[in-house]
C-alpha cells in the first residue's frame, strides 16, 4: 500500500442548516435545526409536510445569470458548494494542479427539470421541451459544471449509489489520490429532490416521516418515536490533496481521509440486511484500509436516517464492530434531514469539522433511544472531546454501503 496521505483542505457546505461551511457548523452545534415546513411547492395533497430546504441559497452569488437557467437546482447547489470549498482551501482559478479531478455523488439528478418539462410536454407539446433538458437532468452535470467552471481537465466522474453516493465519491477520490494518479480532487455530493415526485416517490414507499409534530422535530434518528426520514436538499464539496503538498503550500487541513470501505448487502433493493452485514463489512474494510483497529475509533457519524429498521440495524452493526466498547455516536440527520446523494459527503465534512474542532455534534431530537438502538449517543448538545479517528457511514438503496475513516492529520 502506498503511504501517500490524503488531507481534507477545503470544505464547502450548502445545506438546510445554512449556505456556508462555518454557518452550517455553527447551526449544528448550537442546535438550530435545518428542517422546517415543506414550501418548495404546494404540498397540500401530500402526507408529508416537512423538508430540509436550502432557503438561503442565492445562485446569483456563485453563478452568472445565463448559466443558472441552464442548470438544474442540484447542479447550482453543487457549484455553490464547490466555490465555497475552493475558497476555503485558499485555491483560486489557475492554482489547481494539472492532474486535478472532480468526483461527485448524485443520487437522482435533475428531478425538478424533468417534472417541469414533462408538464410542458403534456400541456403544450413536444416543441416546448427546452433544448437544455438533457444536459440539465443528467446526473453527471454537477461534476461537469465544476470541471468547466474551474478548468479541471482530469477525470470528471459521477457516482450514483443512492444515499451513499457522496461517500462513494469521496472514497474513490481518496483511493485515486493515494495511488498517486491525481494531485487534487474536488469531491462531494449534491441533490435537489424536494419536488412533488421526489417527496411523492419516497412517501409512496412509506419512507418519510408523517407524524404530526413540529417539522423541526420530525427527524429523530435512533429515537423510539422515529417514523421515517425527512427529505432534504443541498450539496457538500471537499477539496482533497496529498497531505505533504497541502502542508507545503501553507494549508491547514481539517483532517486526514485515511480509509474507505465499500460493501454490498446482496439482500433486498431497499431494506437493509437484518443483521447489518453489509454495514459491518464496510466499516471493517474501511478500518483495515486505514490500518486501524476498531479500538482507535472515538466517534461514529452514523448514517441513521430516522427510519425504524435502518437505525436499529446500524446500531447493531456498530455494536458488533466495537465489541460493546462505548464509542460516541451521532446522526447529524436529526438536524439536516436526509440529503440523499449529498448526505455521505456532508457527513464526512461534518466529521472532519468534529476532528478539527474537537467537538462531536449531537443527534438532534434524540431523547428516548428505541429498542435495539443502545449506543453511546451524543444528545442534548455537542460533546467536547478530542477525536483521533472517526467513521462516517452512508448506506443506499440497492444494498450499497460505504464507510470513510477520518483521522486527525499532521500539523506544522
Amino acid at each position: 500500500m502506498s503511504t501517500r496521505r490524503v488531507a481534507i483542505t477545503g470544505i464547502g457546505l450548502v445545506t438546510p442548516l445554512a449556505t456556508g461551511t462555518r454557518e452550517s457548523w455553527s447551526a449544528l452545534i448550537e442546535g438550530r435545526p435545518g428542517i422546517g415546513p415543506l414550501t418548495r411547492f404546494d404540498a397540500a395533497d401530500f402526507s408529508v409536510q416537512c423538508a430540509g430546504q436550502v432557503d438561503d441559497f442565492e445562485p446569483e452569488r456563485f453563478l452568472p445569470r445565463a448559466r443558472i437557467r441552464h442548470m438544474d437546482r442540484y447542479a447550482q447547489l453543487a457549484c455553490g458548494a464547490a466555490q465555497l470549498a475552493l475558497d476555503d482551501a485558499s485555491l483560486e482559478a489557475g492554482d489547481l494542479p494539472a492532474r486535478s479531478a472532480v468526483f461527485m455523488g448524485v443520487g437522482l439528478g435533475g428531478l425538478e427539470t424533468i417534472e417541469r418539462n414533462h408538464d410542458a410536454l403534456r400541456e403544450k407539446g413536444p416543441r416546448f421541451i427546452t433544448p437544455y433538458f438533457i444536459p440539465m437532468i443528467i446526473p453527471n452535470m454537477a461534476a461537469g459544471w465544476i470541471s468547466l467552471i474551474h478548468a479541471v481537465t482530469g477525470r470528471s466522474l459521477t457516482l450514483a449509489t443512492a444515499c451513499a453516493s457522496g461517500a462513494h465519491a469521496l472514497g474513490e477520490a481518496f483511493h485515486l489520490l493515494r495511488s498517486g494518479s491525481a494531485d487534487l480532487v474536488i469531491a462531494g455530493g449534491a441533490e435537489a429532490a424536494v419536488t412533488p415526485l421526489g417527496i411523492g416517490g419516497f412517501a409512496a414507499m412509506r419512507a418519510l416521516s408523517t407524524r404530526d409534530v413540529d417539522p423541526s422535530r420530525a427527524s429523530c434518528p435512533f429515537d423510539a418515536a422515529r417514523d421515517g426520514f425527512v427529505l432534504a436538499e443541498g450539496a457538500a464539496v471537499l477539496v482533497l490533496e496529498p497531505e505533504d503538498a497541502a502542508l507545503d503550500r501553507g494549508g491547514r487541513p481539517y483532517a486526514r481521509l485515511s480509509g474507505y470501505g465499500a460493501a454490498s448487502d446482496a439482500h433486498d433493493i431497499t431494506q437493509p440486511d437484518p443483521e447489518g452485514a453489509g454495514a459491518l463489512a464496510a466499516m471493517r474494510m474501511a478500518l483495515e484500509d486505514a490500518g486501524l483497529e476498531p479500538s482507535c475509533v472515538d466517534y461514529v457519524n452514523a448514517h441513521a436516517t430516522s427510519t425504524p429498521l435502518g437505525d436499529r440495524v446500524e446500531a447493531a452493526a456498530i455494536r458488533a464492530l466495537t465489541g460493546g466498547r462505548p464509542v460516541a455516536v451521532s446522526s447529524t440527520k436529526g438536524a439536516t434531514g436526509h440529503l440523499l446523494g449529498a448526505a455521505g459527503a456532508l457527513e464526512a465534512a461534518l466529521t472532519a469539522l468534529a476532528i478539527r474542532e474537537e467537538t462531536i455534534p449531537p443527534t438532534l431530537n434524540l431523547e428516548d433511544p428505541g429498542p435495539g438502538c443502545d449506543l453511546d449517543h451524543v444528545t442534548g448538545g455537542p460533546r467536547r472531546q478530542p477525536v483521533r479517528a472517526a467513521l462516517s457511514n452512508a448506506f443506499g438503496f440497492g444494498g450499497t454501503n460505504a464507510t470513510l475513516v477520518l483521522e486527525r492529520g499532521e500539523e506544522r
Binding site: 448559466r67 437557467r69 441552464h70 403544450k124 416546448f128 427546452t130 433544448p131
Partner: protein, 87 residues
Amino acid sequence: MAEPLKNTGRDLQGEVISAIAAVTGYDESDVKPDMLFIEDLGCQSLQIMEIVLELQSVFDIEIPDGDIDALRSVDDAVGYVKRRLRE
C-alpha cells in the same frame, strides 16, 4: 386566444428583444437589433434553440427546423416573427 395582431401597436421588436434577453441573461438594454446571436451575444447552439423555443412560446407560432439556420441576428428574428404573424 391570441389577439389579431394588425393595428394593435404591438412592439414586436421590443418583445423579441425581451425574449432573447430572458434566454441569454443579458439586460434588455444591452441587446441591440443588429447583434448576431453567436458573434455578438456569445450564444451556443443550444441557446439558439432555446431562443427559438421562447419565440414559439411568446408569439404562439411554430418555427420549423428548416427556418432556424436563417435566424442569425436579432433583426432576423424580428423580421421572421413579423412575417409569420402577418401570414
